[in-house]
Amino acid sequence: MINECRMLSVSSILGYGFPEASLKRGVDLKPHFIGVDGGSTDPGAYYLGSGECLNSLKAMKRDLRLMLLAGVPRKIPVVIGSTGGAGTESQLQVVAGLAREIAREEGLNFRLALIHAEQEKEDVQQWLKQGRISALRNVPELTEATVSRSTRIVGMMGAEPFMKALSQGADVVLAARASDAASWAGCAMSRGIAPAPSWYSGKMLECGTASATPKGHDCLMATVRDDHLDVEPTNPERRCTPLSVATHSLHENASPTLHEEPGGLLDATHCQFTPLTDRAVRISGMTWKTRDYDIKLEGAECIGFRAITICGTRDPILISQIDSYLQTVREDVAMRATGFGVSPEKYQLVFHVYGKDGVMGAAEPVKQISSHELGIVVEVLSETEEDARAVLSIARVVIPKVDFVGRLCKSGNMAFPFSPSDISVGLTFKFSVFHVVKPDSPYSMFPITYEQVS
């Protein structure tokens, strides 16, 4: 008999939602695993830095409840990677708490595995000294200072920790940061499927029905065998076509064909996409080349406190000299802020000028402004909330009053849509670490804890 592994992905990210009917149809197809990806770096470094969850607790609990009710009574393992958004320890614990609550409320009993991924900074410094860390393409080399400044660093696990948790009898696996495809690859390989289609199935399943047409947050079923996989949305309103499936490999990947994963390279250069029905596609021809085992490290660093205000001008005389006007504002703000003890080296002031180059910044090729109005987001970043708010506040005072050549609008240069107009955005983070490390083993950075939940 041909070995196969059926896996049901409920959505793109835990908390994005999915139709209950799609889950039910998927469960009727007797999947070996039910899962969902939990996160992404895409919404920015804030979730890694702050440790706050990307999605609301209500939305995550709704999705998790339906998954546990579908999986646990049928002995279908429920597996989630990058739990909570960035896959931090705090996010993992929040979602584990939701799982325990749901178990109590629904009378479910299961063995829960938590796979941890946060790394001690001392360990990262040690690896750096040992020359085990290298930069990814277009990322600066890592330094000791950058590691020190980082608020939090996670490792991105591969498939092996998932396989280990499943082999230890876990009914529910919640993992902190993991490669998006790793949970699925681990599930399929734990049932003896070859790495190439297992990893490719992860690439498909991690985004729910993003590979279908129409796209959406919905359930996708993959049936993986040793040399191919079949994918089909469980919602009859969606279809997978060879083109929609091939197109998905472009999504958020630097290359559509070469995917670097922990322990190997998934090569989809010679993939074939064959329609099985008008809603299902067979994907074959992928290869897996084993390589040195690398783990990606992701770190976030706090770069200060951000405050913003929003304003706009409808004055053509001002619009015609917007650059010199903003330069005058910048100088005036510097003088006044220095006067109250916040000199320019203590803050950064950025003008996002919509209607000019607000979307592309310096990369904007169109230099001529053709709009009759400009919107400006004034951004101040400083070490403390007090300083950021003080500088923003004085900018809000200066902006309406600065003189320019031919000025007729003597009562104010800008329209402010809100009162109060100053908005505290909060702590701001950037990605500081985006590097790979050679670990002692695929498991060494990702301890697993088990508990019986009832």
């Binding site: 470094a45 393409r137 277009n138 472009l250 990369a363 990605f431």
Partner: protein
Amino acid sequence: MPKISELAKVCKSKNAGPFEVTIDVMFETKEIFDKVEQTGVLCAALFSKLYNVPEKAVLFTIYPAALAFKGTIPRCTSSGDIGDTDVYGAQQHAPLLDVEIPI
């Protein structure tokens, strides 16, 4: 001469991690895709010129299975850092729209 905006089915950008943006141009039929490919206009040098990045920093892939061309370029500011304008990298495709294709 037709522009990409008149020939393509999809022209989009998105982060490929926080330090790179990837831009995809896709066509409706194999016939148009092949014609566009033959002109050689879509290449690493084009992305280098349009986005003012070194050509060797551009990862360019022709992907016939999706009737697509893909260019991945470094971000001048990493996603969400001070001065970033586009956290998701979703609105960096426009310079390609006006590129003329001699077919």
